[in-house]
């Protein structure tokens, strides 16, 4: 275990606020480039809405493709926030502290992005109000609450609201801090946003209780959001590979796998970009990788169960679908990449501590996981539709169009763009949490080495 230097408060302030008070030189060009990409993406979306979904590669019977896949993917990524800030907070895992804010932020932004996809994939996005709002009282026409497509926006809306509040409550002390260190319009902005934060004991108490309450409230969301997303598929009896009984937990654990991996990716980037080596340390990566080994292996169990179910039940259409997924070109190629990237490469590597504490290795392996997890969703959604149905006559394959790929890429640029924009005005690492942990930290002797230990204050 490496030694680390003792951090004092001024140092913490200076380094962690470097994004706001002392913007790094790469920031402006990066935001500009991403901004251009975002604008191009928005133009393509606009053109698609203007011309019609004919510009996609969709047809009959593959009615859903890249958009829905990417929707599920971003909802999955959003589980980063719940996992890190709610679960780990409630279980008092101290190593979570430097990454809570970024994880929550990723949640909010990926949810915002995820929501875009069902909207633009609809044939008439401008009628979207009809979709979720009870709109026609006069005729007694309500949205159909039996449709998972109604439960989806409700669940995601709840999640988004909760996460935003959570993010904001946790931001308050840091906003006060920034207000005290800025002048001019920035000062005015932070003054308003800080809601009169003075850091008095009553405010601290309310802020802490609020955080814990929100964590607890969001726990059910942890289970519900991706379960509900899974029902988009699980309730459809006729699409082979969709109507699986294990989808709800399978999707949830898959989401945790991809969400936590995304946090790892982000932590590595933060450490490199803002030089926060003192705050985001190899131990954090180590801890996350251990968590991921468990999550990924659990997830793998579900993946295998799907095969077992098909084989044990000797359900011919289901077996035919799995056969297609695993052995028929081009699905087999995707399947192999999926299996290697989502599990077979990263997880065995993480068994080695050298890998777990190597930032670059963790960065690349976590990227691999999300490549794999995106493919996993694709392989769940599309082959089921593109399979050889009993109505062989209408069997056609699907190839995403350039428009779909552009919008797919846009979503990544868009999330990164928002994160960078946020980092310019708000600290990505919560200062107060960091300082809180410093107060709790002391070194303990294990053998001859002095290692950092985390203890709680005695109650």
């Amino acid at each position: 275990m490496q030694q680390r230097r003792t951090l004092d408060q001024p140092y913490t302030n200076r380094v962690l606020l470097n994004g706001q008070l002392d913007t790094p030189r790469w920031w402006a060009p990066a935001v500009a480039i991403l901004g251009i990409a975002v604008i191009i993406g928005l133009l393509v979306i606009g053109a698609m809405i203007n011309k019609g979904l004919g510009v996609t590669g969709l047809g009959r019977p593959v009615y859903w493709g890249l958009f829905i896949t990417t929707f599920v993917f971003w909802v999955g990524i959003s589980h980063a926030g719940i996992m890190i800030s709610a679960i780990l907070r409630l279980t008092q895992a101290e190593w979570r502290r430097p990454v809570t804010r970024a994880a929550e932020l990723l949640t909010v932004f990926s949810l915002l992005t995820a929501l875009v996809f069902p909207l633009i994939h609809a044939g008439r996005p401008w009628r979207i109000a009809y979709w979720i709002l009870p709109y026609d009282f006069a005729r007694g026409i309500y949205p159909n609450i039996r449709s998972p497509l109604i439960m989806d926006p409700v669940a995601i809306g709840t999640y988004l609201t909760g996460s935003t509040m959570f993010l904001y409550v946790a931001l308050l002390p840091d906003l006060g801090n920034l207000r005290d260190r800025t002048t001019g319009w920035k000062n005015s902005l932070y003054t308003v946003l800080a809601l009169g934060w003075r850091g008095n004991p009553r405010q601290w108490k309310m802020q802490t209780v609020g955080g814990i309450l929100l964590s607890a409230l969001m726990l059910p969301i942890f289970v519900s959001v991706h379960s509900i997303v899974s029902w988009d598929f699980a309730v459809v009896p006729s699409v082979e590979g969709w109507h699986s009984t294990i989808f709800a937990p399978y999707f949830v654990i898959g989401a945790v796998h991809s969400g936590v991996s995304a946090v790892v990716t982000m932590m590595a980037l933060m450490r490199w970009l803002w030089k926060w080596d003192d705050f985001i340390r190899p131990e954090h990566f180590d801890a996350l990788a251990r968590l991921l080994i468990v999550v990924a292996t659990g997830w793998l169990g579900f993946t295998f169960l799907e095969l077992i179910f098909a084989l044990y039940g000797q359900d011919a259409p289901e077996i035919a679908l799995r056969e297609m997924q695993m052995f028929q070109w081009p699905w087999n190629m995707l399947f192999i990449i999926f299996f290697l990237t989502a599990y077979a490469i990263p997880v065995p590597l993480w068994l080695f501590k050298r890998v777990r504490t190597n930032i670059a290795m963790m960065f690349w392996t976590s990227i691999l996981v999300n490549v794999g997890m995106w493919l996993e969703r694709f392989l769940i959604i599309v082959p089921g539709l593109a399979r050889r149905t009993p109505f062989v006559y209408t069997w056609e394959a699907y190839r995403p169009s350039p428009v779909e790929w552009t919008i797919f890429v846009w979503s990544f640029c868009w999330v990164t763009f928002l994160m960078l924009l946020f980092s310019r005005f708000f600290p990505l690492v919560p200062l107060f949490e960091q300082k809180e942990s410093q107060v709790f930290t002391q070194d303990v002797a294990i053998g001859r080495a002095k290692v950092p230990a985390i203890v709680r204050e005695a109650d």
Binding site: R60, P61, Y63, W64, A122, G123, R124, S147, T394
Partner: protein, 248 residues
């Protein structure tokens, strides 16, 4: 075979597969009747054609024992339709006469219902339908021209049902059996397609579906279709009586 009865009518179709010759008369009749957009070559190549009724052709055997089997397939108007509960806006729902109805105005175009329908009879308008101005002269004013971005499918020619109902009501009588012909049943030269009221035990379709050849498509899904098929007859088929019984 249970069919819930909602009112005095439960419309349905009996398709005698043994009589279908695959001639496509039903398909074109439906295209013309229901203002279905032109299926241009591009739409054919990209599997985006719209064809509320289609005739599928399956091969069996090899030369010289080749058999080509035709079957017309349209919306089965399932009593227990998988397309209905998934629609977030009730753009597709069951009406009181056994029809699965599509309300174009409400549809937002999620295509969820199309994934739910195991019969692949729901069609999405990927593009705005276009007719050269002069061809608009033959559009049927009884049927809405759908815009892009929405779902459509066989309606059992609901406008014809409405028209006949209105006429019968104004004349103070019941709708007679056979009075309503959908565009496809009317065209079908061999009378493979038959339309009528299943609630009337004396109607032609009610009697036809008592035939021992009756079956429904994909009954494993429990959709309870209002389209009943009568099996194709092959006089030279070897029927091994009792073979099934010898198993197990």
């Amino acid at each position: 075979m249970t069919t819930a009865s909602f009112g005095s009518h439960n419309w349905g179709m009996v398709v005698d597969v043994d009589k279908c010759i695959g001639c496509q008369a039903c398909v074109i009749a439906c295209q013309a009747e229901n203002n279905i957009p032109l299926n241009t070559q591009d739409r054919v190549e990209r599997a985006r054609t719209i064809s509320w009724i289609r005739v599928e052709r399956y091969w069996e055997g090899d030369f010289p024992d080749t058999k080509a089997r035709f079957i017309p397939i349209m919306c089965q108007h399932c009593e227990n339709a998988p397309c209905e509960p998934v629609c977030p806006v009730f753009a597709t729902y069951h009406n009181a006469e056994g029809l699965n109805v599509q309300v174009y105005n409400r549809c937002v175009g999620t295509r969820y219902c199309a994934n739910g329908c195991p019969y692949i009879v729901r069609f999405f308008n990927y593009w705005e339908p276009v007719w050269p101005e002069s061809l608009r002269n033959h559009l049927n004013p009884d049927v809405t021209v759908r815009s892009r971005g929405i779902m459509e499918k066989c309606s059992f020619c609901v406008h014809r049902i409405r028209r006949a109902t209105r006429t019968a009501r104004s004349e103070g009588r019941e709708i007679a059996d056979g009075e309503i012909q959908t565009a496809c049943t009317s065209a079908c030269p061999t009378s493979a397609l038959n339309f009528g009221n299943f609630n009337d035990p004396n109607s032609k379709v009610s009697k036809m579906r008592e035939d021992q050849r009756h079956y429904t498509l994909l009954d494993q899904f429990g959709t309870d279709p209002n389209v009943i098929y009568l099996a194709k007859v092959d006089p030279d088929k070897k029927v091994s009586v009792g073979e099934a019984a010898s198993h197990g």
